[in-house]
Symmetry: C2
Subunit: 376 residues, 2 copies
DNA sequence: TACTTCAATGCAAAGGTTTGCAGGTAGATC
DNA sequence: GATCTACCTGCAAACCTTTGCATTGAAGTA
């Protein structure tokens, strides 16, 4: 029932190879023939069967998107941007959800490998060595995790954490808690590292609470701990946890920001809707999705998977680009942070605060400039 | 480089057809042979090439998910549930975003048709006749829209609107506004119809404002109109608009619920996080995703697309199931609705309020019983 | 006129899999 | 011991497309 290249060939009185060329190498066919074939194809509603094409060209024109949790509001903007970018380049996108499960990630890469030209691994939870191994099966681009030798799209959460800590220290906070993210998260480690260093530099003490599930519940569950820890400010792994914490503190009767200041990470759309509005480190999620797709497709055109020559399939070397892109983050100051107990006093150790973060106009959708290539 | 059925055949010393049968018809192959083949396949890491398989069986084991706007928080839970359900049944899922654009919807169905066994059309914006036409090209299941002769998964927003209006009328509101959704939305029409009838029955007056884009901005932009309309309660097309309205009213200094009550639709996770917490009509989004996938796959097994018989491809009749499922909604009363100007007074026309909606324990994720089949 | 050149088209193999049919072997039955 | 019956396996065609090579014919050159 579906119309094939053969139907078009019959209708336009040419061989199927001519029809094929009309689409994939138009300059090789006589203009008159071309218009005739095109007309017939249009008439019959012919669309090349991409699967059949993939069988011989080795390129499916599909990519895979593996996501830890679609329902986590951090991801939809990334998915949307990636899908849009891919489709502009005539690629279709498989989306799969792993429920934050490393085993599911591996299984999905295997399952998708034959059907795609590459896979975007978003905030993967599996081990570095496994990712490396899988990258030999199918081209991979990793988002939100740094791996030597693999193309990565990163957000500079380290810088973000520094800004956040400096902001808090500048407000007079000295006892700060970090709500860690899930085990296996690169972002969480990075945050911890940078926040720890920044706290030391600012003469503040950092207490790490976690690991925690990266959800509202995860944040809510730590409210009690936060109060008990006696800190006056908290940096959370992400906005969702920060929002959960806001709820938890509210339930405990702890006022934000009067008693405790809270900072999130991501700047998801909800963070403007809480009361108080959340101070947070904005990450360029959409840009990350676009960039990752670009890198994957670039890689794909640089090193095609197979090339046919006279019937013999020639396997091409497995060299790969390994560019790593770091996208900038930005501290967005809203209403969940306020003066701490040391407000106004001279900070011990350091002299001045340096160029602090600016208060942002808060246009909702941060437009982020193209990222800086930090390695290649 | 990728390992094929031929490699496995060579390694295990059998013909490729035996390998094929080991996977797709195990009962036809000798148990000893089977284990040997399986072992070799495991060893080599063989995975059948689904595209090649699809070429001959006519079933791709993929489905398509066409979404108006992935970033709209209504959809991610639906996508997540659909993807999970599909993968349980060994299907992979293409996800595509149309940006609320009808033309993009059509193009996507065409583009995906050859690569999937069916498409889920979520809240489509195109015309009924076009949908019907497309359904002849590829099996379709429509979510959030009712079409005669096509399988649909609906949420009973009519009932939801009724509950909401009755709730508001019961609180003493007589001047109510409805913030309409986007043009072409079945849900919006349904809401308007049911809300209008319920308002009439309750002796209240309903003012329709719209159509509007189904976003926070869409709601925010109507705040001024709402105030000017002099209503004391508003039912919004969805939570996003309701939240935007909340913001807008706050900016205008209008207190909710003291001066104006607001009700949303969907019960997205944000609606528990606004201040005041949003009263809303909960729609069983995840259940809709699961159900829609089930219907699509059911349809697919009932009426396979092609069947081979000795080399001749036999086109099978195009009969289809047209079951329509209506899922129940539930009014969740939170803090954005309060007494209106007629509170306590006898309602004109009607005698009593009937069994009003109950205050819900608010467990976050409404578990909804299997839907009622209303037609087949 | 004879030869080369080039553009346009056809031919056929290949890609990985499924599946109807036919062949082969072994056990059971009489 | 011959015949029948299962069971298992191999053969080859088919799915739809791409592409290197061969073929054709016309235009250009000497």
């Amino acid at each position: 029932m579906p119309v094939t290249i053969r139907d078009v060939a019959r209708a336009s009185g040419v061989h199927i190879s001519t029809v094929s060329r009309t689409f994939s190498a138009p300059h090789l066919v006589n203009p008159e023939t071309r218009v005739r074939v095109l007309a017939c194809a249009e008439d019959l509603g012919y669309r090349p069967n991409r699967a059949a094409r993939a069988l011989i060209t080795g390129r499916t024109h599909n990519i895979g998107l593996i996501i830890a949790d679609i329902a986590n509001p951090f991801f939809p903007p990334l998915i949307k941007a990636a899908e849009s970018q891919a489709r502009h380049r005539d690629y279709h996108v498989f989306v799969a959800d792993t429920n934050e499960d490393a085993a599911a990630e591996e299984e999905l890469v295997h399952a998708l490998a034959k059907q795609v030209d590459g896979v975007l691994l978003c905030s993967p939870r599996m081990s570095n060595s496994l990712i490396e191994q899988l990258s030999r099966e199918v081209p991979l681009v990793v988002v939100n995790r740094q791996l030597a030798g693999l193309p990565c799209v990163l957000m500079d959460v380290g810088q973000g954490a520094r800004s956040a800590i400096e902001h808090l220290a500048g407000l007079g906070h000295r006892e700060i808690a970090l709500l860690g993210g899930p085990r296996g998260s690169w972002t969480s480690r990075e945050l911890r590292r940078a926040a720890g260093a920044a706290a030391r530099a600012a003469g503040a003490e950092l207490t790490v609470l976690g690991p925690n599930p990266p959800t509202e519940t995860g944040g809510l569950a730590q409210a009690e701990q936060v109060r008990r820890a006696g800190v006056t400010a908290v940096l959370a792994y992400n906005d969702l946890m920060a929002i959960g914490l806001l709820e938890g503190l509210d339930a405990l009767g702890v006022r934000v920001p009067q008693e405790v200041s809270v900072v999130g990470v991501d700047d998801i759309s909800l963070s403007r809707l809480t009361r108080p509005k959340l101070t947070t480190v904005a990450t360029p999620t959409a840009a990350a999705g676009r960039t990752a797709v670009d890198m994957l497709l670039q890689q794909d055109t640089d090193f095609p998977r197979t090339a046919r020559g006279g019937g013999a399939t020639v396997a091409v070397g497995v060299r790969r680009t390994t560019a790593q892109v770091m996208l900038q983050t930005e501290l967005v100051i809203r209403d969940s942070t306020g003066p701490g107990p040391y407000a106004g006093r001279e900070r011990p150790g350091t002299a001045a605060v340096g160029p602090g973060p600016h208060r942002r106009a808060d246009p909702g959708n941060p437009v982020v400039a193209a990222g800086d290539v930090v390695a290649s």
